[in-house]
Symmetry: C2
Subunit: 267 residues, 2 copies
């Protein structure tokens, strides 16, 4: 019996990470839990985020997961060290993979980060970037309009490009910036719009993509690759909230049509 | 006293990996050993490559290295599993990071690999790629003219582009191929020529760059980052052969001017 990899998020944003994990590691089994009922975690008190995250983790541990991916920037910033210390399995967050990928990509050593107000305020990416490479210049800007744009589905409408343009105005003030981290797991959904606005000179990095790469690396080092050769198992998606938004996203955006979907209650 | 990261190669090719490690991890200390006297390992017998590699590793272990990077495709293919089993420190090769990066990058699931005759014959990249993602289409082609072109220094001359063009003729037969792995640590030195020939539609991946990323990932997971905040130490480069070629390369190509250079004897 192959053990699954557990993925948690406050809501649907982490599906970008699940999609990448499945694409980069098609032989692995995944179980995803989105706490949509209490989403978003951003404006919540710190102790609440810690409690909610532990509730999700405790639930997933009953599925005998072999690795935990925290596909949520807020939860990564607040709880990852606790989880790493206390869980008997490897724990991967979304911040460090994004930071490392930016260090790999930048030639000018000038890196931008966009994310929610809370992620930008936490300076979690800046801390991760500078702890590895102190000489970097960084700029972090919140794009509070992006999550509503994505969750409402309006990102496919003509006005969306204008909203993205306005939110990324700051780029013009940083002509040396050559790398932009999407520091929110929702943002890869509008990555084509972001790339259109920033132009070819700037490398846009998705934390979701880089987290997939990091999980792949760790599977080798912990010698944990799934040896399953036969039929591939589709991911299991659990949510504390409505099934509707997952149903739509998993089919229309993430090519996860055959993933099973189930509502659960966390206490 | 901070422990260094050890890097071994049969010769000078691994300097591309050292350069990337230093760029991505400026706070770390490195010690490099190139067995130039017995280079190249490609045409050697398997038991010789194993013996030579162990001699290099044994020498570097006396410097109390905290991690070992095998910056040589031949040695990675033949000895990495032994080293992983028997050494008390983490061991990183160049093949898996390159393979994983290709899986991350490809959209068409059609990946090319170029390398020396031996690396291509070993099918080490194909094995690594398909063990993770069996649905990939791969094509491996040897480019035996590249290493002489680089080691002779002629890659800066006008005829070089023509040689690269001829060697990469096979690309035309694979219109679906969107990702090309440089499966030899020498090749990043002529990456601009390779990119000019293959065009913008193909992502060219350097195993050297990806190995830097993998070492960075593992340093976090083993909680082994250098805490050094003060003066950065320059790499130490050891060679069993002539100092001349290292002297030229480290200054002209790799911006490792202040790295110290020393000739040693392995028994």
């Amino acid at each position: 019996m192959e053990q699954p990899i557990g993925v948690i998020d406050s809501g649907v944003g982490g599906l970008t990470v699940l999609h990448e994990l499945k694409r980069q590691l098609p032989k692995e089994k995944f179980i995803y839990l989105g706490d949509t009922l209490r989403c978003p975690y951003g404006p919540k008190q710190e102790h609440e985020v810690i409690q909610y995250t532990w509730e999700m983790v405790t639930h997933l541990m009953t599925f005998d997961i072999k690795m935990l991916v925290i596909a949520c920037n807020t939860a990564t910033a607040l709880v990852i060290n606790q989880l790493k210390e206390q869980l008997p399995i490897p724990v991967v967050g979304v911040i460090e993979p994004g930071a490392r990928a930016a260090i790999k990509a930048t030639k000018t050593n000038h890196v931008g980060i966009i994310g929610t107000e809370n992620t930008i305020k936490s300076k979690a990416y800046e801390t991760a970037l500078k702890s590895i490479k102190p000489s970097l210049t960084t700029v972090g800007v919140a794009c509070p309009k992006f999550v509503p744009l994505i969750e409402s589905g309006q990102f496919t409408e003509p006005g969306a490009l204008e909203i993205v343009k306005e939110s990324l105005e700051f780029i013009k003030d940083h002509p040396n910036l050559d790398t932009l981290i999407l520091g929110c797991t929702h943002y890869p959904i509008i990555q084509p719009l972001i790339e259109e606005v920033v132009g070819e000179q700037i490398t846009v990095l998705s934390s979701a993509v880089e987290t997939g790469f990091e999980v792949s690396t760790l599977l080798t080092f912990y010698n944990m690759y799934n040896s399953l050769e036969g039929k591939l198992e589709e991911p299991v998606i659990l949510t504390t909230g409505s099934l509707n938004v997952f149903q739509h996203l998993k089919e229309e955006i993430f090519q996860l049509k055959s993933a099973s979907l189930k509502q659960i209650t966390l206490s």
